[in-house]
């Protein structure tokens, strides 16, 4: 493989790796634009990867798996929305709970469903285009489409204006007759639904396997990408490509014997996490979160 091929190969890999990050970041951006913080995306990715694989194998079709993953994401979005929006609970703790729950459900579920410990090869595969530089999944285009549509709705339609208003100034939105709770709740559900789609993509499409740590921090990297992109879906697409590049690179380098001899693979594996910290530390102060982000709204 010559140098140019190698570059193209890794850029294609970045497109593949960006899908779950972009979907989650775009979903998180909508949720936080409406004022609801959710740190449970890590758990949602993990559980949707698990249940998505079950749906795919039961339905005999990869797309059923994708929809099943989105459905699971939606359910947990409703749970988070009910606690934070309607019961006015803390925004961080339910997310921690969902993440802990996912660790148990998936580790338990893999053994209970397939009888194997910690890992299962998914029997159903997503149909892809095969190129000399690796496979291209239709989910890449769907992700781009979802990002563009979400961006358009968020910034160019009355619906988007209402979503942003309940996260920016819920008192004013309420005074104008906007149902703050309704918009916050469904924005939260939408965010988790996209994360669910990204989770199913991990198992049914990209990696083709379910493991008990398949999300590997991607839910949090996606949140970092959301901050990096200034809560803006199109920026999150480019940011997701950047984060995806390092995610893919660490996997690629780890399996590349010529590099393995120079740098221990464990050090290469830390790359996506170090990059995330450096990038977030670099952009803070240059971006501004929605004003009422993470603040429960109670009518006076």
């Amino acid at each position: 493989m010559n140098a140019l091929d190698m570059v193209i190969f890794n850029l294609m890999g970045a497109l593949t790796a960006m899908v779950p990050l972009v979907l989650t970041s775009v979903g998180a951006a909508v949720s936080e634009r409406a004022g609801v913080v959710n740190i449970g995306y890590e758990g949602i990715l993990l559980m949707s990867a698990f249940f998505g694989a079950i749906f795919a194998e039961m339905g005999g079709n990869a797309w059923i798996g994708m929809l099943g993953g989105a459905f699971i994401g939606m359910l947990f979005g409703m749970l988070h929305g009910a606690i934070t929006v309607y019961l006015k609970g803390d925004h961080i703790i339910p997310g921690i709970g969902i993440n802990l729950l996912a660790l148990g459900v998936v580790a338990f579920g893999i053994t209970a469903v397939w009888g194997t410990a910690g890992q299962h090869q998914v029997a159903i595969k997503m149909a892809k285009w095969y190129t000399p530089y690796g496979p291209v999944s239709p989910m890449i285009f769907i992700t781009i489409l979802i990002t563009l549509v979400t961006h358009w709705v968020l910034f160019k339609t009355p619906l988007g204006l209402r979503i942003r208003s309940v996260g920016e100034n819920p008192e004013a939105a309420d005074a104008l007759g906007i149902n703050v709770e309704k918009y916050r709740f469904w924005a939260t559900v939408y965010g988790s639904l996209l994360a669910g789609l990204g989770g199913a993509y991990l198992s049914v499409d990209w990696l083709g396997t379910v493991t008990k740590d398949i999300s590997s921090g991607r839910g949090f990297i996606a949140l970092a990408n959301m901050v990096f992109s200034g809560w803006n879906p199109i920026n999150a697409l480019f940011g997701g490509f950047l984060f995806g590049f390092f995610d893919n690179l660490s996997i690629w380098v780890r399996t590349n014997p010529s590099v393995q001899n120079i740098v221990p693979w464990q050090f290469v594996a830390t790359l996506p996490y170090i990059v995330t910290i450096v990038i977030v530390a670099g952009v803070i102060g240059k971006v501004r979160p929605p004003k009422a982000d993470g603040k429960p709204y109670k009518r006076e």
Binding site: G89, G97, L100, L101, F108, F220, T276, V280
Partner: protein, 344 residues
Amino acid sequence: MNGKNFLKPFMESIIAVTIGVLVGAIVLAFSGYSPLEAYKALLDGALGSKYGIALTLSSATPIMLTGLTFAISARTGIFNIGAEGTVYFGAIAAIAFTAAFANPLMGLLGGILFGAAWSLPAAFLKVYRGVHEVISTIMLNWIAFFGALYIVLGPLANPNDPNKTISVPESARLGLILKETDLSWGFVIAVIAALLSYYLLWHTVLGYGMRASGYNERASKYGGINPKLAIIWSFVIGGIMSGLAGAVEVMGRPPSYAISQGMANIHGYGFDGIGVSLVGRNHPLGIILSGIFFGMLKAGATSMQIEAGVPLEMVKVVQGIIVVAVAVPGLWDLVKNLFGRGRQ
């Protein structure tokens, strides 16, 4: 602390635990297991014998300490979920320090120093760059995981056994409280750490400053408290607790007194600690109780797997449901209204 203030959070935790056990039973039934058999085997394994009770208390030891990490930060208004990675380095430090000095105090010191040191990056990122601690601590957990894996497989690898690191030398191990059980003096260290944390938070100037800045950062500033310093201290003291958790685990847990390959025997304590802290209402004394409860779940998990055939990860499902239930605000009032007692 008067009786009324104590009752409500206590009842809410009890309700959350009940919900966790009940929903867990539904999950068990749906997965084709008998919930009664499973829970009976669990209780039997955890409380049915002297060995079981000792195992419960020794399982409670590290998660009480990591629970303190979360609680101390939560009282300062910070969500420090970096205990997981800190435990790894605490364990590594204990092995390295005892290999050099063969003295238990040096092992504990190693855990304390490494724990404090590994807590600093997230503290500085928070205070000086405003990076949200949830993101930074999770990223640092992963960095710690791979870094520790490198050390476990490399510098500390056991030349005679590829499945684990070198062991803590016998003279540096923590003694057992009960012979032929897993219960070492590490449990006492964890309880003392909880009592000291309580004293720190409610009976010292530093603790007052930490709680004040957690309650209202701006107001505490007017009161002459430096919230940045309070946050750094909460990270450092929290780091010491989970560093100790790792050290105590390898120095006090028979039979291997080492870190196993892939770090399986020190994995997950940081996340368990979050649940312990939340169910213990982020209060050091509550953490002693909830730590023992979660220790019971962990201790009983193995016998549940052997006797009822239920995968031992089931207890993590119950744990997760409990934490989600704890996140529901006003649980006690909800239940009271449900049973019609709240009408008067």
